[in-house]
């Protein structure tokens, strides 16, 4: 149940599939970064990277968070697993409120929630062998036993499609896709319940991206993992997600099932995003409506009043500057959307006859 917890207009959306109740609940999450200036490093402002996010994730599902650079999606992921300390709000993971947990308390939580980073070149220590990298979480948690630990690392390598002989090599001996597999093996070492995947395939070539995406889906099926999948690639997010949240300047502007988001988007920003993705066939050239937004994303240090998207929105009226639209179901729709003028539009539909020429 993503969306505002208290909505007067409608009950929260129906579950996508019959999975248990929830593994993660985030309420009113805020992460501000101070802007310091002058010789006394006085705080002169706040970058409002995450500014009031509600999110519920059920066990075994994949929730995709999609948005452009600077929208706060990476900060959101890192704050949820407390790599960054939240400014405000509540994070309940597996029944425990971890928002005020200290480092030591987080240790036990970290066994259950792991992160996979974007850059497979920067996230693996070049001086460690693959065995050491994948075995490190086990060592940190005192679970690496002689013989057994070795076997576990080899099992993990096989799980992610690498061979146990790779264990003695160093990261530089591997291609990008193989490195990302090593990163996934490391994340799986402690049998976590949930993975936060922060742009896990965007640094990889297309043919390799598909391999890693398939691996993630297969691992999820096998181990019942829950994924928070953060990415800017709308096609990959559609492929892997059960539900999707679209983020703009620190807030969710629209949430729903993948069907709802991609087939009946209601927020102008979601519609613009979908329409802006290059088509994948020259036959469709000029056959799809393209919304080209004016201007750039405003600074999160000084977001526009009211609706944050209004400065680039073709529908904006006076009310948009005055009132921040709540993320609730709106008339004519079946999922929460934060827009005063929400309306279904299908940017992926082909306009007119698409013919091969």
């Amino acid at each position: 149940m993503m969306g505002q917890v208290e909505t007067s207009t409608a009950p929260a959306e129906a579950p996508v599939q019959a999975v248990g109740d929830e593994i993660l609940r985030v309420e009113g999450l805020v992460k501000h970064f101070p802007i310091k200036s002058g010789i006394f490093k006085r705080t002169v402002g706040q970058v409002r990277a995450v500014d009031g996010v509600d999110l519920t994730v059920r066990p075994g599902e994949t929730v995709g968070i999609v948005g452009e650079s600077g929208c706060g999606k990476t900060t959101l992921g890192r704050t949820i697993i407390k790599l960054l300390e939240p400014t405000d709000g509540k994070i309940v993971f597996d029944g425990q409120d971890i928002s005020r947990f200290r480092r030591r308390q987080m240790r036990s939580v970290r066994r259950d929630v792991q992160i996979v980073f974007q850059d497979p070149y920067a996230s693996l220590n070049p001086r460690m062998t693959v065995r050491e990298i994948v075995g490190e979480p086990l060592r940190i948690h005192g679970l690496y036993r002689r013989g057994e630990g070795r076997r576990r690392v080899e099992e993990l390598l096989r799980t992610v499609g690498l061979s146990p002989e790779h264990a003695n090599r160093f990261p530089h001996e591997f291609s990008g896709g193989q490195r990302q597999r090593i990163g996934v093996a490391r994340a799986l070492a402690l049998n976590p319940k949930m993975l936060v995947l922060d742009e896990p395939v965007s640094a990889l070539d297309v043919s390799i991206q598909a391999q890693v995406v398939n691996l993630l889906v297969q691992l999820q099926n096998e181990f019942g993992l829950t994924y928070l999948f953060i990415a800017h690639d709308l096609s990959v997010v559609r492929h892997i997600s059960d539900r999707v949240a679209v983020m703009y300047l620190g807030k969710f502007v629209e949430t729903g099932t993948r069907q709802q988001l991609y087939e009946t988007p209601m927020h102008p920003y979601t519609q613009a995003l979908l329409s802006a993705v290059p088509i994948d066939s020259p036959n469709l050239r000029g056959k799809r409506q393209r919304i080209v937004l004016k201007g750039d994303v405003p600074s999160p240090a000084n977001p526009p009043s009211g609706c944050r998207f209004r400065t680039r929105c073709w529908k904006a009226q006076e009310i948009c500057a005055q009132e921040d639209p709540a993320l609730v179901k709106r008339s004519g729709g079946d999922h929460p959307v934060a827009c005063h003028f929400a309306e279904v539009m299908r940017p992926l539909d082909v306009v007119g006859q698409a013919t091969a020429s």
């Binding site: 297309v206 800017h232 709308l234 020259p282």
Partner: protein, 346 residues
């Protein structure tokens, strides 16, 4: 068909590294015709950038080494031209747009000064006032708002999208015949990318330049290219009209590349990746470099022993494929896309 504005023939470039000799580009040939957009597509390490940068004299030598080839621009070989002459052509009749506008603009000069300099270097008679007028025109053309006041701003005061617009303005400042765009939108967000695609279309309309679009993004190719060169492991594996390449490809790598894309407008149960890893360019596989990952090869000996030549499939060399079994690709494509289609339906 008119005469090509640029012809590359048998270009072979290698790099000396600590690990061995990297065979970056091997025997690459293609033509660029006036006013067209030629897409050069391939994954990292395919040689798509090196082949083009070498023509412009922008490949550092050493460690790079030109083993063979010529690049004929208006009948003259760019690869053997005196440096001074090549400099005159570069930024003038042949201009470039790079992936990262932040590193390709000079941070200590204003945007306007840099574009004006580009004009004045190639047109020494131009006075400052005329140059400024022309720059403002160019900035307006590429959609930089309040162009006359932004003339005096520095690159760091421009957003990524605006910088890329400024780069395009600079590239078209001297009415180029050939515009080389190396991953022009890769560093940009999708909504900004859509803006830049429009700007590139406008820039081409204005200058009638031929564009060489180097990218890994098949979507960008589908949007912009008239013809496509597909590269793998330093060689051209397929070449043809954009519709032909997308609708009836004749190389299993091209098919695999398109099959592995996640779709925006349909649900798939599984993606269909190309198996295996990209080849080493130091010790490339013998025969066809794609054979270890090729589902069509089925271990046939010919693929392992002989490098397949580029063979003609269309009239007049308009569609070429370097696959020993190119005749089987249509059936292979039908079978594999049917499998993807079935996944859509489920």
């Amino acid at each position: 068909m008119p005469d090509p504005v640029l012809s590359v023939r048998d270009l072979t470039v290698e790099f000396k590294t600590e690990d061995g000799i990297v065979h970056a580009v091997t025997g690459v040939s293609y033509d660029v015709f006036p006013g067209e957009t030629l897409g050069v597509v391939g994954e990292s390490g395919s040689g798509k950038s090196v082949s083009v940068m070498t023509m412009l004299g922008l490949t550092p030598m050493p460690p790079g080494r030109l083993l063979s080839g010529e690049a004929l621009y208006k009948g003259r070989d760019l690869l053997r031209m005196p440096k001074k002459e090549l400099r005159d052509i570069r930024g003038g009749q042949m201009a470039m747009i790079f992936q990262d506008p932040m590193t390709s603009l000079n941070p200590v000069l204003t945007i306007g000064e840099q574009i004006a300099e580009a004009i004045q270097v190639h047109n020494p008679g131009t006075n400052d006032e005329d140059a400024r007028k022309r720059v403002v025109e160019l900035l307006e053309l590429v959609g930089v708002p309040s162009a006359s006041s932004r003339f005096d701003q520095y690159p760091h005061e421009f957003s990524g999208g605006m910088r890329q617009r400024a780069m395009i303005a600079m590239a078209i400042a001297n009415d180029p015949q050939v515009l080389i765009a190396d991953e022009p939108t890769t560093a940009l967000d999708v909504t900004i990318q859509a803006q830049i695609i429009e700007v590139m279309r406008a820039a081409q309309q204005e200058t009638h330049a031929a564009i060489i679009l180097i990218t890994h993004d098949l979507g960008l190719i589908a949007e912009l290219a008239d013809r496509v060169v597909v590269m793998y492991a330093g060689r051209v594996v397929e070449l043809g009209d954009v519709h032909t390449i997308f609708n009836s490809p004749r190389h299993p790598y091209t098919v695999g590349l398109m099959n592995s894309l996640a779709r925006l407008d349909a649900d798939q149960e599984w993606l269909r990746p190309i198996p295996g890893q990209p080849p080493s360019l130091i010790t490339p596989p013998p025969g066809c470099a794609f054979h270890p990952r090729c589902e069509l090869s089925q271990g046939r000996a010919l693929c392992r022993t002989d490098v397949p030549p580029l063979r003609d499939f269309g009239e007049g060399g308009l569609h070429r494929s370097a696959c020993h079994f190119a005749e089987e690709v249509a059936a292979y494509q039908a079978a594999t896309t049917a499998a993807v289609g079935a996944a859509h339906a489920s």
